[in-house]
Each structure stands twice: as C-alpha cells, then as structure tokens.
C-alpha cells in the first residue's frame, strides 16, 4: 500500500510540477577570440520546437535558421522591406500573373552541390502541396504552376495578381530537390547547421564557401532559457554575449549605467491585443467595442508593463508595415464617452470574461483592464489558462468573450478579412479591400487599400490594440553589428562582431 501511495504521490507531483511550468536550459561559455574568429553566444527564450521549418508556429526555428542557414528567394530586411536573396532579381509580366525569378549565380548548398532552379521548384511545391502545414500555404495558394525554364530561372504562374508574393516567398526557405523539411540540414546560407541539443543550445558555424558577403564571426551558439533570471545571470557572468529580447524592464536595472553592457531599444511587430469575440453579443455592437476601448488607459497599461518603453497603438499595424498610420488617438482614453456609448447601446451591468495565458505581462494587463472597466460600470472576470488551452478554447473553438494575446507577425492586418479567425470580425468592405489590395496593379494602390483597412478596423474597434512591444536587447559592450529592430521572424547574425 505504501508503495502505491508513493507512486501516486510521484505521479501527482510530476503532473502538478509540469502543469506549473518554469524552467531554463543552458550550456556554453563565450570564447574570448575577437573579430572574424569570434564565436558569439546569444541567449534566447524562444527555442525552436523542432527543426521543421515552413510550419506555422515555428518561430524559434525561423529566428535561428532563416537567413542564417536557410535562405529564400527573397528576404525581409531589418526595416521590414523585401530584398532579393537567392533570386538576384525578378520580372513581372504586364498582367501581373507571371513572375520570372533569376537565380543568383554561384550558389552552393552546404554539401557542395550547386543550387538549381529545380531545387526552388521543389521547395515551393512542398510549401503549397495539399499535405503542407506551412502557415504560408494559404497565402501562396495563388500560385497555379511552378516551372524551371532553365537551371537559373524559376517561373511562377499565378491565378490572380498578388502584390504580397515576394513578401510571402521570404518565408519559404530553399532546400535541395527531394529533401524533406524533416531531414534537411543542407541550406545555402552564410552558416552551416552544426547541432541542436533540445532544451539547451543550437550551434551554427560560418560557411566559408558562401556565395555572398561572408559572416563576420566564426559561428553562433543560441542558448535557450525558460527562466529570464537564469538568462540574465548568464549575461551578467559573461556566459552570454547578447540577449535577443528582454521581456520586462525589471531585468534592465542591473545593466543600466554599467559600461560593460549596451542596451538597445528597437521596434518590434508584436502587438498586444485585447481581442473581443466580435461574433457574439454584446461585442457584435460596434458601440460596445468602442466603449470598452475608450475605457482603457493604454498609456497607463504600457507604463505598468514597460516603464516608458514601447508604443501605444490604435490598430493592428506596426510602424514598419507600409500601411501604417498612427491611430493611437482615435479611441483615446475617455471614461465618460465610454459610459455614454454603453448607454446608447442599451448595455448596463455588463459582466465579461477575459481568457489569457497565465503569466506576465497578461496578468498585469488583465488587472489594469479590470480596474479601468470597473470605473465605467463593467465587471471583468479574469480567467488564466495555459498555452495549449488557449489554442483549443479560443483559437479553435472560439469559445470566449474576450482574450489577451500578443501577435508577432508583420503585415497581419489581413487577418481582419477572415471572418472565421478567432476574433470573428466580419466586415464585407474590409474583406473586399484586402482581396483587392493583394490583386492591386501597383504597390501604391495596395498600400492605399490596406491603409483604408487599417483605418476602418481602428475606427470600428474590431479589437482593442493596447501597445506595441519594444524590442530591447542587452549586449556586452564589445559586441556590435546586431539588428536592433525585430520586424521579421529571423534574427540575422552574420554582421555581429566582437571588437578586439
């Protein structure tokens, strides 16, 4: 009996422990070499879940591998602009339906074989194949055929115009013909993949046969942490050269005013959102959404979470997207106006629930929302859940009233054109404009249409966008050349240098 009790206790403890969650991982010390021989050690809390790329939710692997080990026909640079990569350039037919990509000459895979058009055809075909799990599968469904007229040319035929095609193609990394996502470690980038130890680190080393400008360091190790205290301890003691993202200003105190460290603040594309379930009452009433939005003091929320860093937003569009217009003041904090709007909508004694993934910053935000809403007569009940539950309850089942979530993707305002998305915003004009924007003849036309989308969802308070996360990095003072902004999934490391 004692045996069974002990076993039951272990079972319960492990499950409980697991349910609580909090942890870390690690294991490398920075080498002292400087310049081109330097190995850079980078700390991150965003570990790849697996090495399968081109799959939705694989931001960890994109961060470490995209542009560094694997490259696309195009890339998105640190300013959010599309730049040619494996495609030297491309021609677009008059009607916008045929894209002809001319491949960069002299590109080799890491195993020494040449990049051919057939490799590109294979890689893109895999992404749009029926069994593909790529988050870009839908976006690229406009491609009707992929052919290789010769070894250095790839032709894409589209079923309609797509202004966003070159942007979406940046997410499709090119592997060798026949390689699957699961097995391939063979890319074309400035680094070769060396190893990944799950829960600990991922190492890449400079590819000396790189077709472009070679990396300025000899290699990079990404070390993965769950616990941010452990992460910053490692930076303090010299085990790390750079932390990609600090997640709270509390951690910065120990680096501020210390000459041994550099703190940079850049812009991100991570929008913290209080999303309503627009398909259910009372959130299907635009006045209620506007009222709830006006009831929130976003400056105060941002200040509580980020202590002066970051930026208040009034729509889904970050400043690095081409269709940004500042809408922070459209539904500025105004409790009286909020009360009036609620009265107009005939809503009183409103009690609503907010589901969020437990932990900060959502915990802090939820409590501030609760207080602000109380002031306009709305009761907010807090319902913390875990990550997996969030995906099930909110994302898949749409079983929620309101929720807090951070959305990291650039150019994701187009999700407001999908009435089946979890927030269920359904506006025919917006849907038309988004469709038209992708089929626009020029980027100007596209930008104009998406700006209209941006303004409309902002006006209608499709969701309550709270603020844009700052991108705060801390590096040892001798480390330079890292991108300050984070406007794509990838963290490009080839320009990072350790000064002698």
């Amino acid at each position: 009996m004692r045996t069974l009790k002990a076993a039951a206790a272990v079972l319960a403890t492990t499950l409980l422990l697991a349910a609580c969650g909090s942890g870390g991982s690690g294991g490398a010390s920075s080498s002292a070499a400087a310049g081109a021989d330097a190995e850079i050690v980078i700390g991150s809390t965003n570990e790849p879940t697996g090495l399968v790329r081109n799959v939705g939710g694989s931001s960890g692997v994109s961060q470490t591998m995209t542009r560094n080990v694997f490259e696309g026909l195009t890339s998105v640079d640190v300013d959010g602009l599309v730049v040619p990569t494996l495609a030297k350039d491309w021609d677009v037919s008059e009607d916008g339906l045929v894209y002809t990509f001319h491949l960069q000459p002299g590109v080799h895979f890491h195993d020494g074989s040449d990049l051919t058009a057939q490799d590109v055809v294979w890689s893109i075909s895999q992404t749009i194949a029926p069994e593909s799990k790529s988050a870009r599968k839908n976006d690229l469904s406009v491609i009707s055929s992929i052919t290789a007229p010769d070894d250095a040319t790839v032709q894409l035929d589209l079923s309609r115009r797509s202004q966003s095609l070159p942007f979406y193609l940046a997410s499709v990394t090119i592997v060798q013909d026949g390689d699957t996502e699961l097995s391939s470690e063979n890319g074309t980038g400035p680094y070769r993949f060396v190893e990944w130890t799950q829960g600990d680190h991922l190492t890449i080393e400079r590819n000396d046969d790189y077709w472009g400008t070679p990396a300025k360091n000899s290699g990079v190790t990404f070390r993965f942490f769950k616990d941010t205290t452990a992460l910053n301890n490692a930076l303090l003691t010299g085990d790390l050269d750079l932390v990609i993202a600090e997640d709270s200003p509390d951690q910065l105190v120990q680096f501020e005013g210390n000459d041994a460290f550099t703190i940079t603040e850049g812009t991100s594309t991570t929008k913290q959102i209080w999303a309503f379930n627009d398909r259910v009452a009372p959130f299907d009433d635009v006045r209620v959404r506007q009222a709830l939005y006006k009831a929130i003091d976003r400056e105060k929320v941002l200040d509580a979470v980020w202590d002066g860093y970051g930026q208040v937003i009034g729509s889904m569009v970050p400043p690095t997207d081409p269709w940004f217009v500042d809408q922070a003041d459209v539904h500025a904090y105004d409790p009286q106006a909020a009360k009036d709007l609620l009265a107009q909508a005939g809503v009183s004694d409103l009690t609503i629930a907010v589901d969020y993934v437990a932990g900060d910053p959502s915990e802090t935000i939820a409590q501030l929302l609760q207080a602000d809403l109380q002031a306009v007569g709305v009761t907010l009940t807090l319902n913390p859940v875990d990550d997996a539950t969030w995906y099930q309850k909110i994302y898949t089942d749409h079983d929620f009233q309101t929720t807090l979530m951070g959305h990291v993707n650039p150019r994701d305002v187009v999700w407001y054109a999908n009435p089946d998305f979890y927030w269920g915003y359904d506006n025919k004009d917006v849907q038309q404009w988004v469709a038209d924007a992708d089929q626009a003849a020029t980027t100007e036309e596209q930008t104009a249409l998406l700006t209209q989308v941006n303004e409309t969802i902002g006006q209608e308070a499709a969701s309550a966008w709270l603020y844009l996360d700052p991108q705060i990095r801390v590096a040892r003072a001798e480390i330079t050349g890292f991108p300050v902004n984070q406007v794509t999934e990838s963290f490009y490391v080839a320009d990072i240098v350790r000064e002698g």
Binding site: A6, K226, H407
Partner: protein, 322 residues
C-alpha cells in the same frame, strides 16, 4: 519466500499497468490540443486535421493507448509530436545530466544526514542536537528552488567561483566543467533532502535508544555509543532504509525542479517544455518512467528490509502480511 516474491512481483506489474492507464488518461483529459499548439496562429482547420491524422490523435483513445503500449513492448516509446525525435533518444540524451545530479544529491545527503541524525539523537539535549534540529526544521520549511536562487546569488553572482547555471556544450567530454556546473544544483537538492532525512534518522535513533536492549547493554557497562553501535544500528536501519527508498525517488524529483533554476538541459526541463507544448508521447514516457522507478525502488526496499530484519521474514511465513 518464493510465494512472497511472486505476490510482490504481481503487485508491482499490476501497479505498472494501472499507472500506464492513469498517465495516459490524465494527459488525454488535459485541456489543449497538441496539433493546434504546435501549428500556432495562422494555420487553417484543414491543416489541423491533417496534422492530427499524421500524429494519430484523431484515432479513438483505446486505439491510441493500444499503440502506445504495443510500442513500449517493442522497445519504442514513440516519436515526439513536436520535435519529431524518437522519445527514447530524447530522454536518453537528458540522463547524463539528471542521473548524476540526483545520485550525487542522494549520496551527499545520506553522508550528511545519517551521522548528523545519530549525533542529534544521542546528544539530543546538547547544543549539537538542538542546532541540528533547528537547522533541519528550517531546511524543510524553505522551498527547494529558493535555496537554489540564494546559492546562485552567493557563489555565482557575488563570489563568481561557480557558474550560475547551464551545462557545458561538450557535456561530459569536459569533466571538470561538467562537475563545476553540477556543484550548486547538487548542493541545492542535497540541502533539501538532508533536512528531511536528518529528522528521520534522528527519530529512528531515538526510538532505538529507548529500547530495553540498549538500556540493558548500557547497564552491562557498554558506553552510549558502543551500545548503539553494537545493538542499535541494525534495528534503527529498518525504518531508515524505507525512507532511503522514498528519498531516492525524491532526489530525482528534486533534480527535476532545480534543473529549471539552474538552466540544466535534463529531464526536468524536458518535462516542463513537453507539457507546455502538449507533447504527449514525451510526457507519458517521462511520467510513467518516474512512476516505474518509484515502484521498483520500493520493491527493492521491501526486499532489503527483509534482509535486515528477520522478523519480517517470519511475518510473511505466517500469511504474507507485509
């Protein structure tokens, strides 16, 4: 003896089967969808269906359970939903960290707590006895991770003599670095375990000291220590061995907790990230493995106790009461 053994082995196997059912069922009833969690925002419901089919989570539960158990018997714990690595390989790669950590913590805590516990009992009213009791009380009350945080602060951040966390990238190929990185975690687990064990050893020794045979031995002219060594230790060992068994399992659990504090890529960090990602095959294998370890340890402890105490052997002959 053989009938006793048969009964015990039977109980052990039955417990394992029950544990596998419980582990499987509990995880299936946790809210959250493995497929959705691994695909994330931006994928379509068709893609979700596709992934569920790939993972087999669209199958009836009993089919999934059957496949899992069949896999276990053929020596395969399946493939991780998330990293797509074989579960056995994934777990094996973590053992070189978690096993040395928990075993070292166990050994250290035995070496510390047995002598301290005996001394605390024999000198229970002396300064040593009172101090040991008080300190162990404190050690029991303080959470394990907090001890870890304090040790990191003192020895890594302030004194700078030991790393604050992490494990060398080369693993045990660099033994000195590997050992250095385990010193603080081992100390953390050992402090927590010793605090508990010292109290058991102390009370077991006290029980023995009050026994007639010890008093008799002392009245025959043996010194206090001599009487205890001659007649008490074997008797005191029976409850202590039982505790050692449980503590061996505790040391593994303790290791799992402190790995998170010290950023060690062991079973603990694997368990936490696997639960977060609803990587069911990995969680199942880990929890069942830990449970099996406890069951087997207790089985061995029972056998050891019978070896030490002839009365237990006699008892089983009378009807297998134990």
């Amino acid at each position: 003896m053989s009938r006793y053994l048969l009964t015990r082995v039977g109980t052990l196997l039955l417990s394992l089967v029950l544990a596998s059912v419980v582990v499987f069922a509990v995880l299936r009833f946790l809210p959250g969808d493995s497929a959705g969690t691994s695909l994330g925002v931006g994928t379509t419901s068709d893609q979700l269906e596709q992934l569920r089919a790939d993972l087999g989570t669209d199958q009836p539960l009993w089919t999934q359970y059957g496949q899992w158990v069949a896999g276990l018997f053929s020596g395969s714990a399946g493939t991780s939903f998330v990293s797509r690595l074989p579960v056995g390989e994934l777990i094996a790669s973590k053992l070189p960290i978690t096993l040395p950590l928990s075993l070292a913590a166990f050994v250290v805590s035995v070496l510390v707590s047995v002598p301290l516990g005996v001394v605390a009992a024999v000198r229970r009213r002396g300064v040593v006895g009172v101090t040991v009791s008080a300190v162990s009380q404190l050690g029991v009350a303080v959470p394990v991770f907090w001890v870890g945080v304090i040790l990191v602060w003192i020895f890594a951040l302030e004194a700078g003599v030991l790393p604050p966390g992490g494990f060398p990238r080369q693993g045990w190929e660099d033994p000195a670095a590997a050992v250095r990185s385990l010193v603080l975690p081992v100390a953390t687990v050992a402090i927590a375990m010793s605090s508990v064990m010292v109290r058991y050893v102390r009370s077991a020794t006290l029980d023995v000291l009050d026994q007639d045979y010890v008093r008799t031995a002392r009245s025959l002219g043996y010194g206090r220590w001599h009487a205890l060594a001659r007649h008490g230790l074997r008797n005191g060992a029976v409850p202590v061995v039982a505790i050692l068994g449980i503590e061996l399992a505790t040391s593994l659990l303790g290791a799992v907790v402190v790995e998170n504090v010290f950023a060690l890529p062991g079973l603990g960090t694997l368990l936490v990230s696997s639960v977060e990602g609803r990587d069911l095959p990995v969680v199942q294998a880990l929890v069942l493995g830990l449970t099996a370890l406890v069951l087997v340890t207790n089985f061995l402890v029972d056998l050891a106790q019978r070896g030490i105490d002839p009365r237990l052997r006699a008892g089983s002959a009378l009807g297998g009461a134990r």
